[in-house]
């Protein structure tokens, strides 16, 4: 299968005051279209930094990074924002929903950046919420939903604009086991049935088992790759 993500000799250095901290060292990585990849490693190993680079939230210090044939390491902030809007869906550990908006309005947010009218946005958000099993919670505010339900709203928001790539940063880190399994099952369905390419950072080996592959990072370097059955 063709590669969706191609990372070549990528390094990332952060400047903290006068100190320079090299978080990623010469990373070489390909992620195939339709893959479900788990990134694991101890705290400070660089997995979230790598995820941020793949999602276009940050730019590498060195090397090149292509997603879907687009060199995103060369893009300016404005172009990168546009690229993210149409190519990537984000799922965070703490859901990051806007508390003053209903579930439906939260899901509609990425669609505000499209040319869809209000009725079409509402319809698409409804479909996405139905897909994550929350059709009956459209008008609920985040505070009126459980953690698992909030994360499912976040997943609906991530997929509503039909991106090819989903990046998930500890999506089950704040959930109980049952809710975590529901969310991971949902991600697996999105990967297998809807062809979404998923890159997920996790500390949890059980969560990683839902992925097709697991990559281990340590001190900014890829150290091991495990394929799951």
């Amino acid at each position: 299968m063709a590669n969706l993500v191609e990372i070549r000799n990528v390094s990332k250095v952060y400047e903290r005051g006068k100190q320079k901290v090299e978080v990623l060292h010469h990373i070489e990585l390909d992620i195939a279209q339709g893959d479900f990849l788990a990134l694991m490693g101890p705290s400070g190993s660089g997995k979230t930094t790598l995820l941020n680079l793949i999602g276009g939230l940050d730019s590498p210090t060195d090397g090149s990074l292509s997603v879907g044939g687009t060199r995103i390491d060369n893009l300016g902030q404005g172009a990168l924002a546009k690229w993210r809007a149409s190519n990537v869906g984000f799922i965070f550990q703490f859901y990051n929903l806007l508390p003053m908006l209903s579930a439906q309005k939260n899901v509609e947010l990425p669609l505000l950046l499209t040319r869809l009218n209000a009725a079409q946005r509402k319809k698409n958000a409804g479909v996405a919420l139905q897909l994550v099993g929350l059709a009956d919670r459209v008008s609920h505010k985040p505070t009126e939903l459980s953690g698992g339900q909030q994360q499912r709203v976040a997943i609906a928001r991530a997929i509503v604009s039909d991106p090819t790539l989903l990046v998930c940063d500890e999506p089950t880190g704040d959930l109980d086991r049952q809710s975590a399994e529901d969310v991971l099952g949902l991600l697996q369905t999105l990967n297998k049935s809807h062809g979404k390419t998923i890159v997920m950072v996790t500390h949890d080996p059980k969560a990683a088992e839902y992925a097709r592959h697991t990559l281990h990072l340590d001190k900014g370097t890829l150290v091991e790759q495990v394929a799951h059955a």
């Binding site: 999602g55 939230l57 902030q77 404005g78 546009k82 003053m100 505000l112």
Partner: protein
């Protein structure tokens, strides 16, 4: 427009804080509207279609210096002069020195130069026939609940009567009206100049000022110069100006209303900028992670900047509209509440435009800093809580 619900929701994210801020904005714009009504009332005093063709002739040295009664006949001879009337300041207070009512002693032809003032012919006839009679403005009449035929005690600030007392007694003979009470006579009292002149030992054949109606408004400058030329190099040199300029001049001698209003409003809006600016900064700081999420999903730096700016402008415009709307309601009662001093009875288009322009400008000023902060937000740092 499609971001409006997002801006509105962000604005009312913390309802109590937003409502309290809104109340302070409403209060500031309420004060602005009321003070603007005062300023316009004073600025428009003397302005009317008829006022344009009226000139006031007063002493050049000071408006309290009297002019000789004989000057009136000379003024009437000036080409272009249609009518000449005269008046004296009486300065009446009713019951309490604080209840000041503008009261003038006027010549019999006073109403010839003020055609906009309406007096019922029967009442006018009764007034002319009674030397102790007075005509009362409709607004004052209603305010104090007086009736025609009532005996009215008035205290002059300056002039004693024959017995040496400043307490005068008059008979109310009629009411002075004008369309929408626009004429200042609707808020004053007039008495016979003859009665005034014969009763007070302080006045013997002198008048306070002359009111001249000209045939042609465009000829006013020439007529004014000709009138002033009559008394040139005498002990009663005159200064002739339009009624509007004379009224403005008189008000300026009382106080610079425009400067006072501008100073108060400057202080109020400066405080508002600090107060609301601080609230906006706090509101944006609390939403750092939410703004980072918006940027993560593809909102550009410009969009985030515009949304925060729009939020602060919306807050100010909302407060401004409510404040000015309240002034519109209150201003209906202003003439009565102010004892007729404030005649401006509605918030005009100019006040609305100025108020809204101020609201937008203050909104932009207070929103600029938090909006810039939101725009420059680094997504990775903000999501990591740094």
């Amino acid at each position: 427009m499609k971001y409006l619900h997002l801006i509105w929701a962000a604005l009312f994210r913390r309802k109590t804080r937003t409502i309290l801020t809104l109340v302070s904005i409403v209060a500031a714009f309420l004060l602005f509207g009321l003070l603007d009504a005062v300023r316009i009332s004073f600025a428009e005093a003397g302005k009317s279609a008829n006022g344009a063709e009226r000139l006031q002739v007063g002493a050049r040295l000071s408006f309290i210096q009297p002019l000789p009664q004989g000057l009136g006949a000379q003024i009437a001879q000036v080409p272009g002069v249609r009518d000449v009337a005269h008046a004296n300041w009486f300065g009446g207070a009713y019951q309490d020195p604080h209840n000041q009512i503008f009261t003038f002693a006027v010549s019999p032809n006073y109403f010839d130069v003020y055609p906009e003032v309406e007096v019922d012919p029967e009442q006018r006839k009764a007034f002319d026939a009674n030397l102790n009679g007075i005509l009362v403005g409709e607004v004052i009449m209603k305010k104090y609940g007086w009736k025609i035929g009532d005996k009215l005690p008035l205290q002059s600030q300056i002039f004693p009567n024959k017995e040496g007392s400043k307490n005068w007694n008059f008979d109310i003979m009629g009411v002075m009206k004008s369309k929408d009470n626009k004429a200042f006579q609707s808020q004053m009292i007039v008495l016979h100049w003859k009665n005034f002149d014969e009763t007070t030992p302080y006045n013997h054949g002198s008048v306070g000022w002359y009111i001249v109606r000209v045939n042609d408004v465009n000829d006013s400058d020439r007529v004014a110069r000709a009138i002033d030329a009559i008394s040139a190099n005498s002990d009663h040199e005159t200064k002739t100006m339009t009624e509007q300029a004379a009224t403005a001049n008189w008000i300026k001698q009382l106080a610079d209303i425009g400067l006072i209003v501008t100073s108060i409003m400057g202080a109020v809006f400066f405080t508002l900028v600090l107060l609301t600016g601080n609230t906006m900064m706090q509101a944006v700081r609390e939403r750092t992670s939410e703004l980072a999420v918006l940027k993560t999903i593809g909102f550009s730096n410009g969009s985030v900047l515009a949304m925060v700016l729009a939020e602060s402008v919306l807050l100010l415009v909302l407060g401004g509209v409510i404040g000015l709307g309240l002034v519109s309601l209150i201003s209906m009662a202003l003439p009565a509440l102010s004892g007729g001093m404030i005649t401006h009875t509605s918030v005009g288009a100019k006040s609305w435009s100025l108020g809204l322009a101020l609201a937008i400008a203050i909104g932009v000023v207070i929103g600029a800093l938090p909006a810039m902060r939101a725009m420059r937000l680094n997504i990775v740092d903000a999501l990591a809580g740094r």
